[in-house]
């Protein structure tokens, strides 16, 4: 049978963004793949070299348009390493809550986009409905639906509003029941099982060697999580366990495991938020004014030459990392070099290799199960 190259993308429902997957097929079987990225490269790293440290946060929000809060937090921890800022504990709790709310919204966006790939359009409408609850909560914190500019070096911009805690608890409790609804819809759907089980096997060690991280590795049966391995924030004080799956094959995790691990992760995030809001220092129904020392401490604005900052952060798709060198323009007011490590940038070429041997019809299932986001990939 003659082999040929098929170009999928940049405009293809499978891509979940702008990139191109070129596949070489023999009949229906994939024999070679090639990923092309860079369609929405915006040069964020270069732009940041002429912005001062507080001005960089909005750019980091826009790295990933479904997970802005975690990316901004990731940058903030690197900047705090560089500028040696202390963070009040209440601010750490608020950051934890905001990041986990964002994780719920992001996983719902993933599930909502993954459903139509597999043939379940109902899922899209359900997930968008529930994601709205968390976007409303995040809007109460940051003032906008997608790009919040909420964390600050040394704390957070504003305290949680009065009544936020009660609204959040009600929504999370509702959502915990909704997760069961999703499972009833999906785990008993023949289409869902047939298209996901036994497809896209990846082993834990191969993934780590290739630089894949986060839920994708936990799906393969290891509970490695940056939140306990390279700790930040107050994750050790709240009640949660890393979500981890038991893969059914020696070949590792399949698409179904990766779906299950994200469902479990949503449960754990809900649990974490409910616990954190009760333990928050200063009380859940108090509102400290902006700039109060309970939520924000003063941080230096300049970093000397030779100083570096690094953060390793569990983003919704894996470990996002920032590496900042101080001593840029304006006597250290800007970073000299800011480097961003995106988990999906490393994962997409790995997934392209994973597809070899499967059929063309499996491509949306395999690609979608890794949760690609092109905004952070191309930076």
């Amino acid at each position: 049978m003659a082999q040929m190259w098929i170009t999928m993308g940049p405009q293809h429902p499978m891509t979940h963004g702008l990139w191109t997957l070129r596949v070489k097929v023999d009949g229906e079987t994939i024999v070679d793949t090639d990923a092309e990225l860079g369609y929405i490269h915006r040069g964020v790293e270069k732009i940041c070299e002429s912005r001062d440290f507080t001005q960089i946060t909005p750019y980091c929000d826009r790295l990933c348009y479904v997970s802005a809060m975690t990316w901004a937090n990731s940058y903030i921890y690197a900047a705090e390493d560089l500028l040696e800022a202390e963070v009040p504990e209440r601010a750490e709790f608020i950051r934890l809550i905001s990041a986990e709310l964002q994780r719920l919204a992001s996983h719902l966006m993933w599930l909502g986009a993954f459903g139509p790939d597999i043939g379940s359009l109902t899922l899209m409408t359900w997930c968008m409905r529930d994601r709205e609850m968390f976007l409303d909560l995040l809007q109460e914190l940051g003032g906008s639906r997608m790009h919040y500019n909420y964390p600050r070096i040394g704390g957070v911009k504003r305290d949680i509003p009065i009544g936020f805690a009660d609204r959040m608890i009600a929504k999370i409790k509702l959502f915990e029941r909704r997760i069961e609804e999703y499972e009833m819809l999906l785990d008993e759907s023949t289409i869902w099982l047939v298209r996901l089980q036994g497809v896209g096997y990846t082993k834990a060690e191969d993934m780590v060697d290739a630089g894949v991280s986060g839920p994708n590795v936990r799906a393969a049966g290891v509970n490695y999580d940056v939140r306990w391995a390279h700790p930040y924030s107050v994750y050790d004080q709240v009640d949660w366990e890393p979500a981890v799956e038991k893969p059914t094959s020696v070949k590792g995790a399949d698409c179904y495991d990766r779906y299950r691990v994200r469902m479990e992760e949503m449960r754990q995030s809900s649990k974490m938020i409910l616990d954190a809001i009760e333990k928050i220092p200063g009380g859940k129904n108090t509102n400290y004014s902006t700039g109060d020392e309970m939520i924000l401490t003063k941080a230096p604005t300049r970093a000397p030459e030779g100083a570096t900052g690094f953060s390793n952060y569990e983003c919704t798709r894996g470990a996002s990392q920032f590496f900042i060198k101080g001593g840029g323009e304006g006597r250290g007011k800007n970073p000299y070099r800011l480097s961003i490590r995106s988990p999906m940038f490393i994962t997409i070429p790995f997934v392209a290799d994973t597809m070899i041997g499967y059929k063309i019809a499996d491509i949306p299932a395999i690609m979608g199960s890794f949760d690609p986001c092109i905004g952070e990939t191309d930076r």
């Binding site: 860079g38 834990a204 060697d209």
Partner: protein, 217 residues
């Protein structure tokens, strides 16, 4: 309940790694130290200053003796005004993760406080200074960690560091038909419109000139 790797665990792991590295690479100009972050829990990490000629040996030692299994990030930096021996710097961030394949229907649930030896997650930072010049070159570690492959592609594409021995090097973020020798994160390329006054005086931008006008790009 949540858990985390403690400072003592991490410090002892970092110190034993540094001791092993010092013993193996004594007298070759490779310095390794235990450093601490200044955010969150002030976690320690291992910082290694390596040289391009010893880098492959150090990398193999890290992978096979220190079980560093994760190459997460490669950063190139251009120092056009730096000293002659440090015109460029390549920084590698590596992680050690307690991850191994599991048998079917089982999983590994580590308890952070009980980890010991080479199971303790640890961060490594390798800094390699390169001389001033137009051809900064380090050996590629693509064969040692698969994850270094696309990181090195990106670093070459954006910063212009050459990775000797890297197979299938090509542009990843810039357009594939970008001019040769064009690497936007080198410091001779200026952002065009970043003067604030200019921005406010002429918000439409009709009167602006690129900051690098007349420069041969």
């Amino acid at each position: 309940m949540g858990m985390r790797v403690t400072l003592e665990q991490s410090s002892s792991a970092a110190e034993s790694c540094v001791a092993v590295l010092k013993e193996r690479f004594s007298g070759s100009g490779i310095e390794s130290t235990v450093e601490h972050h200044s955010n969150a829990f002030k976690m320690p990490f291992v910082r290694i200053h390596a040289t391009p000629q010893h880098w492959l040996a150090v990398a193999k030692f890290m992978k096979y003796d220190l079980s560093v299994n994760y190459c997460s990030m490669v950063t190139g930096t251009h120092f056009p005004d730096g000293p002659a021996e440090r015109g460029w710097e390549v920084a590698y961030h590596m992680m050690r993760m307690p991850v191994s394949n599991v048998k079917p229907h089982t999983n590994t649930t580590h308890v952070a406080e009980n980890l010991s030896g080479s199971d303790i997650p640890l961060e490594f930072e390798v800094l390699i200074a390169l001389e001033q010049g137009d051809e900064p070159t380090v050996p590629s570690i693509q064969k040692i960690w698969v994850g270094a492959d696309w990181n090195e592609k990106e670093t070459w594409d954006l910063v212009g560091i050459n990775f000797e021995g890297h197979e299938n090097m090509h542009r990843v973020l810039n357009p594939h038909d970008s001019p040769e020798q064009f690497h936007p994160l080198q410091k001779q390329h200026k952002l065009r419109y970043h003067g604030y006054n200019e921005m406010y005086d002429d918000p439409q931008g009709f009167g602006r000139k690129p900051a690098d006008e007349g420069r041969n790009k």
